[in-house]
């Protein structure tokens, strides 16, 4: 199993915590609202095939909250600079939820450094008449039960109490998510107007039982991004990379191989 290197990098004046493992084409994974303080099985799996880079966003986890951070657009520009600073070149960009929103905002600004784009249950747009889950009003227990389709994942997560440090990180993550996404709730009204600019192969992965952003959000992204393909995972919630990790890695790897041809 490839060794995970943890480091702190300074980009745009902000110290960000980065995990990196594996060899091959570079892949940048942008995490969702609950951060990426743990190295998860799907990451280990992807690191067998790619040079996987997993930063904690500015404001999240162990990364600094920079003065300049006001909205997701700021993070899009930040990650354009981050890709350049790390020399990631033609990177496979993957984002889940909040990270998917950042990835979409990045891609409408510039796809120059992107090989492919994968949005997994992404925030960023609003579909009229299709309510999102109110993640800010859900209790921690309700959140766990709502983000997974298979209750055994929620049971397992709830059975493992957070350490004090993890609890503090979750408070930071919640604050950053509120700052970026409280109003308008988890979307940018301007984003959908420019999604047609995305000109790299794009994969959308959605759980059929996503209670945060129901599959109609995946369909809307598919209709707005010219080259996008939507894969709906059955009996799957908001975190396909956790709940159906093997299928997720297989689908993503297959998509990248296809895009290469």
């Amino acid at each position: 199993m490839p060794e995970v290197k943890e480091s702190t990098l300074r980009v745009d004046g902000c110290a960000v915590s980065v995990k990196r493992a594996g060899q091959g084409e570079p892949m940048l994974f942008l995490h969702g609202a609950r951060g990426a303080s743990r190295w998860l099985p799907f990451m280990a799996s992807l690191a067998e095939r790619f040079d996987l880079v997993v930063p904690e966003h500015p404001g999240y986890g162990r990364s600094e909250m920079p003065e300049w951070l006001d909205d997701v657009g700021d993070l899009a520009f930040f990650y354009l600079d981050f890709i350049k600073a790390l020399g990631l070149g033609r990177v496979h960009l993957v984002g889940n939820s909040m990270g998917g929103w950042i990835a979409a905002e990045l891609a409408v600004r510039s796809t120059r450094d992107l090989a492919t784009l994968t949005l997994v249950s992404a925030a960023g747009i609003h579909v009229k008449g299709v309510p999102k889950g109110d993640i800010f009003l859900w209790s921690p227990e309700t959140t766990m039960r709502n983000v997974f389709a298979d209750p055994k994942f929620a049971e397992a997560a709830l059975a493992t109490p957070l350490s004090d440090e993890e609890q503090d990180l979750q408070l930071r993550n919640a604050l950053a998510t509120a700052k970026l996404g409280w109003q308008p709730r988890l979307y940018d009204p301007q984003l959908r107007k420019w999604l047609h600019r995305i000109d790299v192969p794009t994969l959308l992965i959605w759980g059929d039982s996503d209670k945060v952003f129901p599959p109609a959000y995946g369909e809307a992204y598919r209709d707005l991004i010219p080259s996008a393909r939507l894969e709906i995972f059955e009996r799957c919630g908001h975190l396909p990379h956790v709940e159906q990790a093997e299928k997720f890695v297989r689908t993503l790897t297959g998509f990248v191989a296809e895009a290469r041809r």
Binding site: F136, L137, W138, S139, D164, Q167, D168, L171, R172, A174, L175, T177, A178, K179, W182, Q183, R185
Partner: protein, 380 residues
């Protein structure tokens, strides 16, 4: 000590069994639980109670701001204050809203308060608050910006009141080419400013700053917390090079007075318990959205998990913690005198109607409080 009769105007006719179906009387409780004709009766009854407080000789009366809930029916407290400005003659009128971060244009508060102050002939006390956490769910205002917006809106209002307009205001959240408030406040340079809070070091540091010296009002807190925050205010003032006076320290809490302790306890019990367990009922996510409190405070609360979300509480729990004073006039007077001596607050906001307490009991308690409790404590 100065005495204020403070009202929340709850929807007292709320079907108390709502809690079998809903987890809060805020934000998500359907407004089908509200009956407009009962609302008509309640509003007019509550205004009568506030006006009666003026007749009874309270130093002031207070109204409050909350949104989308059954706990308090004053989303626009200025409506109430406007009525009271005309129908009362002596009492000061404290508006213990306005929740500044919820507004897109805080200049409306500079205007509204200046109008109230002028109509009442300078009787307005201007409250500035952030609103409670639930308000950020119901308004869409971002709790992560709450502190910064509050400070910026406050600075804007103060400048609007004290600087000759028109001038430009260039803030992060608010930007105006022409700030030129008409009318200007009656009281010069501006009405007294009160800062109600459930307690935080940041708020106390800010309110006590020598350039502000605002009255800090501790609301609905255990007496131990009250003592701690009042001491903190005094220490901060000393650091700033002045001594905080009692007029800078206020306490708001429910109080009930009857002939005897036993009778007071018996009469108040169902109504204060409705206040605590039905009207205040709220899950922690609703009460404390991210950013509403500082990270240090949030960490403290996360560590003490369960402390604020425990089960139902009784009248005795609240009396024991000093969050409710209930008894004969002697008991209430002695309790207040002792606490005042220990803690040194100079403004007392008595919530003499709470929860489902009906008009006759409210009126009796108000009369005993005004006639048998206030006079001997006035000098304190």
């Amino acid at each position: 000590m100065k005495f204020y009769f403070f009202h929340l105007m709850p929807y007292a006719d709320l079907d108390q069994s709502y809690s079998e179906k809903y987890n809060s009387a805020w934000v998500t409780l359907p407004n089908s639980y509200y009956d407009p004709s009962r609302g008509h009766g309640l509003y007019n009854r509550y205004l009568d109670e506030l006006e009666y407080a003026d007749v009874l000789g309270f130093d002031g009366i207070g109204v409050n701001e909350h949104h989308q809930n059954a706990y308090g029916l004053m989303p626009i407290p200025g409506v109430m204050a406007g009525i009271l400005a005309r129908n009362t003659k002596r009492a000061r009128i404290a508006v213990l809203g306005r929740a500044l971060p919820l507004l897109n244009n805080p200049l409306v508060v500079a205007e509204e308060y200046a109008m109230l102050d002028t109509i009442s002939g300078g009787r307005l006390i201007a409250g500035f608050v952030r609103g409670i956490g639930a308000e950020y769910h119901s308004s869409g205002a971002n709790p992560a910006e709450s502190h910064d917006r509050f400070h910026e809106a406050h600075d804007l209002i103060l400048r609007a009141w004290t600087e000759t307009g028109p001038f430009a205001f260039e803030g992060k959240y608010y930007h105006f080419n022409y700030v030129n408030t008409w009318p200007r406040p009656f009281q010069q340079p501006h009405p007294p400013i009160w800062i109600p809070s459930q307690g935080s070091r940041e708020t106390i540091e800010w309110a006590s700053h020598s350039s502000r010296r605002y009255t800090y009002l501790q609301t609905f807190s255990p007496v131990s917390a009250l003592a701690r925050y009042m001491a903190m205010y005094k220490e901060e003032a000393e650091k700033q090079g002045y001594q905080a006076g009692p007029e800078q320290l206020g306490w708001a809490l429910p109080i009930y007075v009857a002939d005897t302790d036993a009778r007071a306890h018996r009469e108040a019990k169902p109504h204060i318990e409705a206040f605590i367990n039905k009207f205040l009922r709220m899950p922690p996510e609703m009460l404390l959205p991210p950013g509403y409190l500082s990270m240090a405070s949030m960490k403290g609360i996360a560590r003490a998990k369960g402390a604020i979300t425990g089960g139902a509480q009784t009248i005795d729990d609240w009396i024991e913690k000093g969050m409710f004073i209930c008894g004969s006039p002697d008991t209430v007077r002695q309790t207040l005198a002792e606490r005042q001596k220990q803690i040194g607050f100079g403004q007392l906001l008595a919530l003499l109607q709470f929860g489902t307490l009906p008009h006759d009991l409210t009126k009796g308690s108000m009369e005993r409080f005004a006639r048998e409790v206030m006079p001997r404590l006035r000098a304190a």
